[in-house]
């Protein structure tokens, strides 16, 4: 059984069909990329999985759980973490605090314990901190640990957001355009990290990305979308060679 299975997902905004009868599944341990022109419904698909949008129709199953039974905040508890296209960090907190919020689903202490800061809270805090430090080491964020997000450059914020998702120790990582706005070197780093996330940490990755270099470099399978519907699916090479995909990208007649 696949880790994430989506069948016949449909979503409309007013009269516009954002996602049209879309079905795909992501296997445990793979890197699965969604590509497509702007407005193809890639981010919408992510927002459906995150339960930010309510689908008109379709089934969403993650590891045997029906995602439609859950609220948006409960999705994280299953082990699905995500990043955002336009970086949604907690701007007035430090990098460390941002990463610690990633640990939210692992918290065990109650309100009263926290108010009196019982020894258990301290022990838990040290445990969370240790987990976060591993992420910091993994992503080389040491110089920024106590810096406010508001003052960080774009590239670093992108990495912090990845780190926050990783800190939650997810089973499935949703990356919404991880390389957008990054320099060539930063994109290269991102590529290695995604590789390591899959290989070392064993986390399944589902990503939306425009950079075909990155997509073909890291992903096992690619799904091409246009107008909210599936255009092609297969290995990066297969999808890039697909005439329908070429037409969607370059326009009619180019092929």
């Amino acid at each position: 059984m696949s880790l994430l299975e989506i069948n016949n997902a449909t979503l409309k905004f007013g009269g516009v069909v954002a996602v049209n009868d879309l079905s795909f599944s992501v296997e445990e341990g793979e890197v699965y990329a969604i590509v497509g022109p702007n407005g193809a419904g890639k981010s919408t698909a992510f927002n459906l999985i995150s339960r930010f949008y309510e689908p008109f129709a379709g089934t969403f199953r993650f590891d045997g759980n029906n995602l439609l039974d859950l609220d948006a905040d409960q999705v994280a508890d299953l082990g699905i973490a995500r990043t955002f296209q336009n970086i949604e960090l907690f701007d007035h907190a430090t990098v460390l605090q941002n990463l610690l919020v990633g640990r939210h689903r692992h918290r065990k202490t109650t309100l009263l314990e926290e108010m009196f800061f019982m020894p258990r809270v301290r022990r838990e805090e040290e445990r969370h901190r240790a987990a976060v430090e591993e992420v910091i080491d993994f992503l080389d964020l040491q110089p920024y640990r106590n810096k406010m997000i508001a003052g960080l450059p774009y590239g670093v914020r992108k990495v912090v957001e990845l780190g926050r998702a990783l800190a939650s120790e997810p089973r499935l990582l949703l990356l919404d355009e991880p390389a957008s706005g990054l320099s060539v070197e930063e994109t290269q780093d991102m590529r290695w990290w995604i590789d390591d996330i899959r290989k070392q940490m064993g986390i399944t990755v589902l990503m939306v990305e425009h950079d075909m270099g990155l997509v073909s470099g890291v992903s096992d399978r690619v799904l091409a979308l246009a107008d909210g519907a599936k255009l092609a699916e297969g290995t990066p090479a297969e999808v890039q060679a697909d005439p329908a995909v070429i037409e969607a990208y370059l326009g009619a007649g180019a092929a």
């Binding site: 981010s43 927002n47 930010f52 955002f84 296209q85 336009n86 949604e88």
Partner: protein, 317 residues
Amino acid sequence: MEICQKARKPGVTGQGTVLKERGEDNLEVLQLFVSGLANGCVYGLIALGFVLIYKATEAVNFAQGDFMMVGAFVSLGLTNAGYMDLPFWIAAPLTITIMAVFGYLIDLFVLRHLFGQSQTAVVILTIAMGFVLRFVAGLIWGHEPQTLESPLALGDLHIGGVVLGMADVAIIVVTFLMTWFLYQFFQRTKLGLAMQAASQNQMAAYFMGIPVKRVQGLIWGLSGATAAVAGILFASKGAIDPNAGLLGIKAFAAAVIGGFGSLPGALAGGLIVGVIEPFAARYLAAGYSQIAPYALLLAVLVFRPHGLFSQVRVKKV
């Protein structure tokens, strides 16, 4: 009130007692309704000011009521015999101009420096501005209630037993005209559309060549002018003092009930609040009548958080 009595009499003669009482009841209801309508228009006009600024800058001017108060005092200062003694029809447009400039300057010297700060900062800043305006108005014009010597304040209008003050009629007519004008402005003109665009995504609007900051200044000017109109009408109707701006709280209720993004909604909300008030005062026990507008406000916030006339949407990520 004497004129009232006379006006009522012809309608009652020769009928049976039951009919007569019902007739009086109906008249009274109508009278309450009309006076509520006039009050509601003032709330509506202040609410228009909120909505204008909200539509264009996504901020709320909590001092809008105090803007109205300042507008009222400026017109009073220009018109009344004790002050400048200008003819009303010169003073009124002058007041509107002065308040428009005032609004623009407030944006230029105060709000523009808030660019990039949170909505909460604007909320707090405008509340503080209200305090300052009240204080300054008190220094200049004193704390005694004063009335505007306005030609609108003279005479009543009798329509089938219902008595309407000329001021009330003027308020109702002007308010509807204002709302229509502003609505058309936002829907039809380039500037109006630019203002809407600027509120929804400042950065994108900026890149599309809309001078976001100047547009913001103009909208503050426009809301200052609206406040001036509200002020002139309000001062024609009754006495004003520096605390008159606290009326703004009821106008909030109006704006919320109508939905913050909609100009006709603001007017409708104002009318609802205005009409509810006299009826609550007439039919509810003492302590409860003041609560009515606020209770309605809370009910709307709980059940239709974005107003009676708008749809709820969520942020896109």
